[in-house]
């Protein structure tokens, strides 16, 4: 490849790491303050008692579990999408993979916090782990919550590896391009990378293995999250389709999060040359496909429930379609289906702005979807005498808001510390035989983006 272009790629993509404006510090301070408030709120909740939340009998799970399912869902953005795109060797994936994979890692870390935050005695959360202790009992391996523990820790380990592996050559690049403390730290992180043929070969095979391994893990994670619900004899939870339904919803919300993150990078880090409208077009098509799949699932779920006319399920059905949850339900339908379907199916509207609007809409809709799975079923279980209602309290709202700030903060810091677009993959992407490269890449070659 062209030497000047390689130089330009390195310069452009390392620029956000080496030059920092006051806006960065302002943003980090602002987000950090919100996160600190969230953590403070959690300690306040522990100190005062769990009753500071809006949880009550019989709605024992609400905002926190909604957030848990939502964030674990978001985590399917990255690893799964980037793994699939790698395996099918989609050339346009190259600038997208890392910003997707890092969403996975951070969303998982945030999501995995919620089962702990929601505990009555969170300081004893480690009792979920199997370890030899003086209590002489193992965790209950029949409990889906223990499956959760294993699923999430496996997925987190896998996606951290999947994120770190392709970062090694870029760490080496930073090491070679910088001096001082950066050179020392990134030199350590690069693990002695010299770019020999043997090293490249090993890296490629390791990534191939991880890409194949991470897909079943990702699918199993959200299936197991769905088992938290479908294993309990609760109306509308006890469903055989929850596994695929949750996985589809997870990928749906994950793509939406990825599109928003890419748009933010494009705007704030001036990556317009690297994150083309074609990337948004392609991800928009994926989002549209998942939108249709999600609509198919909810249609199948609702129709079979209505047709089956089982008494207790019909109460939950009624309260979501027409009762007190109806405003949220129909907002969800608009956000998850109507808005993205219109914006993404018309080519004229499938612009960067259109994709981002659809993505925000999907995030709101998918959060509501998780909420509407958790709460209406619990509030309308079998005995009408015990039906209840739920309203979130400030503690829950503050902690929920702070997780969105935490995600943004972690992402901002990551983009500052690591090249958020994989430099070496882009360089490899300059195909030696252009006629063999995928059509998308041919239409938008990198050198054309540089006037």
């Amino acid at each position: 490849m062209n030497q000047a272009l390689a130089q330009r790629l390195s310069d452009d993509l390392l620029r956000p790491m080496l030059h920092t404006s006051w806006r960065f510090y302002a943003l980090v301070a602002c987000l950090g303050a919100i996160v600190a408030m969230g953590i403070g709120t959690w300690f306040y909740q522990m100190y005062m008692g769990f009753g500071m939340t809006g949880i009550n009998m019989p709605i024992y799970w609400a905002f926190y579990i909604t957030n848990f399912v939502f964030w674990i869902g978001i985590s399917h953005a990255g690893t799964l999408i980037s793994a699939i795109l790698r395996l099918v060797n989609a050339g346009w994936r190259r600038p997208v993979t890392r910003c997707a994979e890092v969403i996975t890692v951070f969303a998982l870390m945030i999501g995995a916090m919620f089962p702990i935050i929601h505990l009555g005695r969170p300081w004893l959360f480690f009792w979920l782990m199997p370890y030899p202790s003086n209590r002489m009992i193992w965790p209950n391996f029949r409990s889906p919550l223990v499956w959760d523990f294993f699923a999430i820790s496996t997925y987190l380990t896998g996606s951290v590896l999947f994120l770190l592996l392709p970062m090694i050559p870029d760490f080496a690049l930073v090491r070679d391009k910088t001096t001082g403390w950066r050179r020392r730290i990134y030199g350590k992180l690069a693990l002695g990378w010299q770019g020999t043929t043997k090293q490249w070969h090993r890296l490629e095979s390791a990534m191939q293995i991880m890409a194949i391994a991470i897909i079943p893990v990702a699918v199993s994670v959200h299936t197991i999250v769905s088992f938290d619900f479908s294993m309990a004899p609760v109306p509308m939870w006890h469903s055989t389709m929850f596994g695929p339904y949750f996985v589809a919803g997870a990928i749906f919300s994950g793509i939406a999060a990825l599109i928003i993150a890419m748009a933010a990078l494009r705007k704030f880090l001036h990556m317009e040359e690297y994150l083309h409208p074609i990337h948004f077009q392609n991800l928009g098509k994926l989002l549209l496909m998942m939108c249709l799949l999600w609509a198919y699932f909810i249609f199948a779920e609702r129709l079979t429930t209505w047709y089956g006319n089982e008494q207790s399920e019909m109460e939950v059905f009624r309260v979501t379609q027409r009762g007190s949850f109806a405003p949220l339900y129909w907002t969800m339908i608009v956000c998850n289906f109507v808005v993205p379907f219109v914006l993404l199916s018309l080519k004229k509207l499938r612009t960067v702005a259109g994709c981002v609007t659809a993505s925000f809409s999907v995030l709101v809709g998918m959060w509501l979807e998780r909420f509407l799975i958790v709460v209406p079923s619990l509030s309308h279980k079998y005995l009408p005498y015990t039906w209840g209602h739920y309203r979130p309290r400030p503690v829950e709202i503050m902690i929920t808001v702070s997780t969105f700030a935490a995600m943004t903060l972690l992402y901002t810091l990551f983009a500052k510390l690591v090249p958020i677009i994989s430099v070496w993959e882009l360089k490899v992407g300059e195909h030696p035989f252009p006629q063999e490269s995928p059509a998308d890449v041919r239409q938008h070659p990198l050198w054309k983006a540089h006037p």
Binding site: M48, L119, R121, P122, W127, S143, M231, P233, Y385, T386
Partner: protein, 230 residues
């Protein structure tokens, strides 16, 4: 042969007086949460008297149904607990080990009867009720689940006494607080493994039915259906 404790509830006899609820609170150190928390759905009654109205005023009829933990043989609350806080004893009781509970509240969601309660705060009793706590029953701290135990402390005390006196338990030796206080004798408690015990005979009654039987939870509480209009 181990005992298999069960209960029969005669809905024809229940007057809805609520004595069982009060007795249960006193026996099991169940905190009263006050009107504000009760309005938020934090009231804890290990046994409650459900009221259902039938018909339109003035021809309305009131039905009572005392509901406590059904001590299911196939209890949905047990497999979901990650720490074995909710587990099955040899005598078939659904025990709740407070010290093991970390408060996932999964058991309460899985319970179709909504008879499991969560301690949202550390318990408090208005004075002088704090002086009347039952020393045989542990007080639960914030963040754990609790529920009807069939007054396991009474069962154990009677079993230990009987063992010391080298005698067999007789029907009616064990009386949970709710049964003891039921002036209408609507609640009957005993050993289901003894075919001649009153509770066994009542459980075989053609009037008998299990609550939410179709869920397959195999409860050990039998409800005898209401035959008269009151």
């Amino acid at each position: 042969m181990p005992h298999r404790w069960g209960m029969a509830v005669d809905l024809d006899r229940c007057t809805g007086c609520g004595a069982c609820v009060t007795a249960c609170h006193a026996e099991n150190n169940i905190p009263t949460v006050g009107p504000d928390q009760a309005a938020r759905g934090r009231a804890m009654h290990w046994i409650r008297v459900e009221r259902y109205w039938e018909g339109e005023f003035p021809d309305a009829h009131l039905k009572f149904r005392p509901v406590m933990c059904q001590q299911c043989d196939a209890a949905p609350c047990e497999p979901v607990c990650p720490t074995y806080a909710s587990h099955h004893t040899e005598e078939g009781l659904n025990a709740q080990v407070y010290n093991r509970c970390i408060g996932t509240r999964y058991c309460a969601n899985a319970c179709p009867y909504n008879v499991r309660f969560f301690d949202f705060f550390n318990p408090q009793w208005p004075k002088p009720l704090h002086l009347q706590l039952n020393p045989d029953v542990s007080v639960r701290e914030v963040g754990v689940m609790e529920k009807c135990t069939f007054c396991v402390q009474r069962i154990n005390a009677v079993e230990i006494d009987a063992k010391a006196a080298k005698r067999e338990l007789e029907d009616g030796d064990v009386k949970p607080a709710c049964v003891q206080s039921c002036s209408a004798k609507a609640l009957v408690f005993g050993d289901l493994n003894d075919p001649e015990s009153v509770v066994s005979r009542l459980s075989r009654s053609p009037r008998g039915a299990k609550l939410l039987d179709d869920l397959g939870t195999l409860p050990k509480v039998t409800y005898l259906s209401k035959q008269t209009q009151a």
